[in-house]
């Protein structure tokens, strides 16, 4: 029997289909949005409510060994935030890095129905897929870290561009990833090879490889373009958190040469000033460049005050932060693929840099001319928990609240920004773009982020309230794949989301090239490395569009 649902009288915000607050009926059959339904369909009267597609987090860290290490590192955080079971949902622990079940449910209670895990070394993909499958309700996918891969560097050094492209496709297929992620490109070679070394200039050679980070990034962007990956390379630039890193960020964006690229958590890469001195805001330069270049999409990586956890594949960065706050931390090496650093962190209102970062994030949002390309994220849990999204929405939508908030902060930092002169207020339509339609477009998810016929029936319904934080904190209904998961603010049922992945085509011969390298340098056998389809569980392949 087919399940049917109709949402009537709701104010619909569906920017992808140019629907801006019109009262419109939404019909759902078998998990998809359709033109019309029969009279026996379940009715939801959304009078006085706001209807939006399910929200999409384009950049977060929610599964895998690094997330687990962070959980283990902070037992005190979990003890204070128990997530009890309900009649239909399972129990877990919360805190800044919640357990898998709690992650899925908590995303859902804020109207999120899709989230993308942003950094997975290929060798840990099995664990990630298992944990993502255990993350309830939401759909999810992950980006595979290839930007510091020793074998790919070797191919680039030898100038074998075609094999390089084939190898990327092999890797994406082998681990069931969504797209490729580059983190502090080139740094791992230096970091692992010499004491506390890092890349400081993206036009510098990566030690003995005789290639530069810019060359590596260009090659990835070109290869992803040719393979037609649904989402372009997701880039975490070099020199994160160092004063004056805007020049690195601009160099990186220029390397795209007009091709699509996604710049992750740009707030962390918009520091002006001089190296080793207090940073100043460079948000203006960065956002101007993004505004002028339509090939670039970005997420902000807003910092929110309170607890956070630095969780990154950028090992030298973790070391830098560790020296700021001498506390427990983790630094790990991931074979020939990546590095890793984790440490608990807190952003404090009195601290110059923290306030500056908070203000820079808001500057980026408020000076953005195209909300489709400057998307919402806190880089959970790096800039703060995803649970801060409703508060961030309020900061964007309510300039009086923002003004009030910034009066309590470090004024020296606020005066280094133009935030107090920015009166812009986001509209509900723009919020729908930066949290829904925009991420879906950037990710190449044709069936998500909108409410047109044929889209996945991932829908959120909010009671309209003046206090936007309260409004976005607790949707009245959350519908996932046509099933009402949250009804009148309470979980009505549990639900299992699917894994989103892409399968770029490639020439099978490349495996023969990679294998000898594996047998020489890896701790696992090549035949045990690729992740079998059994690990995919519930999944959906997002089509690629290769350029011939």
């Amino acid at each position: 029997m087919s399940s049917e649902l109709i949402i009537v009288n709701g104010q619909v915000y569906d920017p992808a289909n140019h629907v801006d607050g019109e009262v419109k009926d939404i019909c759902v059959r078998d998990g998809k949005i359709v033109e019309s339904v029969s009279k026996s369909a379940t009715r939801i009267d959304a009078h006085g409510m706001v209807v939006m597609p399910g929200a999409i987090d384009i950049h977060c860290h929610i599964a895998g060994p690094k997330v687990n290490l962070a959980r283990k590192l902070m037992p005190e955080d979990h003890r204070l935030d128990v997530h009890p079971k309900t009649a239909v949902t399972r129990s877990g622990t919360g805190g800044i890095v919640p357990s898998t079940f709690a992650t899925g449910y908590r995303y859902c209670t804020m109207g999120y129905t899709t989230a993308m895990e942003a950094a997975v070394p290929p060798i840990t993909a099995r664990h990630v897929l298992e944990e993502l499958d255990d993350t309830p309700v939401i759909d999810k996918g992950f980006y595979v870290l290839l930007g510091n891969n020793a074998f790919l560097y070797k191919l680039l050094k030898e100038g074998r561009k075609n094999e390089f492209k084939e190898a990327i496709a092999w890797w994406v297929n082998a681990v069931h990833a969504y797209t490729v992620k580059l983190v502090n490109t080139g740094s791992d070679e230096l970091w692992k090879g010499r004491k506390n070394a890092n890349i400081t200039n993206v036009n510098e050679n990566i030690d003995h490889y005789d290639i530069t980070p810019v060359h590596v990034m260009e090659s990835f962007i070109e290869a992803a373009h040719e393979l037609g990956l649904p989402h372009p390379p997701h880039i975490h630039c070099n020199n994160l958190g160092h004063s004056g890193n805007i020049s690195t960020t601009l160099d990186t964006m220029k390397a795209a040469q007009g091709r699509r690229v996604h710049m992750a958590h740009v707030q962390f890469h918009s520091f002006g000033g001089e190296l080793n001195k207090n940073p100043v805001s460079g948000a203006r330069e960065i956002i101007d460049y993004i505004n002028d270049h339509e090939n670039i999409t970005s997420d902000v990586g807003q910092v929110m005050f309170g607890k956070a956890t630095a969780m990154t594949a950028d090992a030298p960065l973790a070391w830098m932060l560790r020296n700021v706050k001498l506390d427990k931390w983790v630094n790990a090496d991931t074979e020939c693929e990546s590095g890793c650093g984790i440490l608990p962190f807190s952003y404090q209102e009195a601290i110059y840099t923290h306030t500056l970062q908070w203000a820079m994030g808001l500057e980026l949002f408020l000076m953005s001319k195209d909300p489709w390309r400057v998307l919402m994220s806190t880089d959970h849990p790096n800039g703060g928990s995803f649970m801060n999204y409703p508060k961030l929405i309020k900061l964007l939508m309510d300039s009086a609240y923002r003004r009030e908030a910034l009066s309590h902060l470090n004024q020296k930092a606020i005066n280094k920004t133009v935030l107090s002169d920015l009166d812009r207020e986001y509209t509900l339509n723009e919020i729908a773009i930066i949290t829904r339609a925009g991420p879906a477009r950037a990710l190449g998810l044709a069936n998500k982020g909108h409410l047109g016929v044929g889209a996945d029936a991932d829908i959120t319904i909010y009671t309209e309230e003046e206090d936007r934080e309260q409004m976005f904190n607790a949707p009245r209904y959350v519908i996932k794949d046509g099933i009402t998961v949250i009804k009148d603010h309470e979980f009505a049922t549990d639900h299992r989301g699917k894994i989103l992945h892409s399968k770029p085509g490639y020439n099978e011969d490349i495996a023969g090239e990679i294998e000898p390298f594996f047998e020489d340098y890896y701790s696992v056998k090549f035949s045990n490395y690729a992740v079998s389809d059994d690990y995919l569980h519930l999944h959906e392949e997002i089509p690629t569009h290769p350029k011939s």
């Binding site: 902070m74 037992p75 005190e76 955080d77 003890r79 506390d327």
Partner: protein, 271 residues
Amino acid sequence: MTTLLSLHSQPDVPLEADTISPDAITGLSELGIEHLQVLHGNIKARVGDFFKVTGKGVSDICLEGDLSKVKMIGASMSVGSITVEGNVGMHVGIGMSGGQILVKGDASDWVGPEMTGGRIIVKGNAGHMVGSAFRGQAVGITGGEIFIHGDAKNEIGNSMRRGLIVIGGDAGDFTGVNMRAGTIIVMGKMGIRTGAGMIRGTVACFEDAPMLPSFEYSCKYQPLFLRLYLIRLQKNGFENKIEDRHLNGKYRRFSGDGIELNRGEILLYLR
């Protein structure tokens, strides 16, 4: 007048009785106290399932029976007193900010975690982690006093930041590990690795103890503050343990931990 709770059925698995505290029961009737919720393993139960309650709820509570399987007694209490006639289970006085808990028997592990004030007195022995931070926490107790008249096991005062812990008997290993500040006085012997990672604070002991290599001998002297502390403790039940030689004798001072700030001190009585 006191409220008497006597254990009539021994729980099969540990019972989390965080509702047995003056703050929770004051003003309740006998029936009201019997209906307070406790956790028996993962099952919700009532105080009355395990305790017979006599008298209506006042701020002084007396507990009878072997409570070694009853945890979290006196949780978050701020006023009044609890007297336990026998042994008591883990986490006694967790998060307490005022009042007094007197245990006439032995206490299990984790006496007074997250304490900010008040006093816990254990006449018998205590388990591990007396006045310690929970695993992962940067800071342990930030105030209050814990007096153990018998022995205590490992990690006394782990990461404590303020407050006083007194052990009348012997201490296990790692006394004052990662201490931020505060005072620990041990009247018996201490195990190994005392003060490992301590930043500030004082550990004093009447016996000789093995020192970590990261602690440096500073001097021998008569610490005046210690004399004042000991005189006060003599008036608080430790008169048999503290002799005149402890008040008037000299102490060897070691500073450390050298891997941290080096501002902590370990004082060992010089025979």
